[in-house]
């Protein structure tokens, strides 16, 4: 029963990831650029902690 619950949870996560991927794929060009800037913002602290340069694009390109 526990194994079934884990499998069900995994399937739910995989399905959610697939939905998210389809959503991102369907975005317009402008929305994709804004999503990219969001990704830069999220990843920049990790990159900097590794000593790599990570410049986040200007705020004007981010979602309002």
């Amino acid at each position: 029963v526990e194994e079934d619950a884990v499998n069900e949870e995994l399937q739910r996560i995989v399905a959610a990831k697939e939905r998210r991927r389809r959503h991102l794929t369907a975005l317009s060009f402008v929305e994709k650029i804004r999503t990219l800037v969001d990704m830069q913002t999220m990843a920049a602290p990790i990159e900097r902690a590794k000593g790599r340069p990570a410049r986040v694009s200007p705020k004007g390109m981010q979602k309002s």
Binding site: R21, L24, T25, L27, F29, V30, K32, I33, T35, L36, M39, Q40, A43, P53, A54, R55, S57, P58
Partner: protein
């Protein structure tokens, strides 16, 4: 296809040949530096965005530029390479990261297979494409 994390913008440019038949980006960089934009590794930072300026170095890139699609970014007109040309360029450059992106691109992006086939034939990339497909 879904957005992929990157920190810089690649811009292909077509420049006239200089003395000796060579293309040089030096005047472009000199102009940008005179406007106060600073170098950062292989890029120049324009209004907060690291930009890599690349000359159109072969007929494939020249064709990609000629066939680029005008796309508005908010109110700013931009020219974006067609998916089929991006695929051909990734195949031609063949770096590990290009091959990975190529796989993602082929599975996710919407592109015109017939047009891609024509591009591959025109630029002698058909065999390389077939070899790459066998590895997938």
């Amino acid at each position: 296809m879904e957005p992929i994390l990157t920190y810089h913008l690649d811009i292909f440019v077509q420049l006239p040949l200089g003395p000796g038949g060579l293309t040089t980006l030096a005047p472009v960089y000199e102009y940008l530096r005179s406007r106060g934009y600073a170098d950062e590794q292989e890029c120049i930072v324009i209004e907060g965005v690291p930009v890599q300026i690349l000359p159109a170095y072969n007929p494939l890139i020249e064709e990609a530029l000629a066939e680029a699609r005008e796309t508005l970014f908010e109110q700013t007109p931009t020219r974006i390479l067609r998916a089929e040309h991006l695929l051909a360029i990734m195949l031609e450059t063949g770096r590990d990261k290009d091959r990975q992106r190529l796989a993602a691109f082929v599975s996710e992006a919407t592109f015109d297979k017939r047009y891609l086939t024509e591009i591959l034939e025109r630029h002698g990339l058909t065999t390389r494409w077939q070899q790459w497909r066998k590895t997938q």
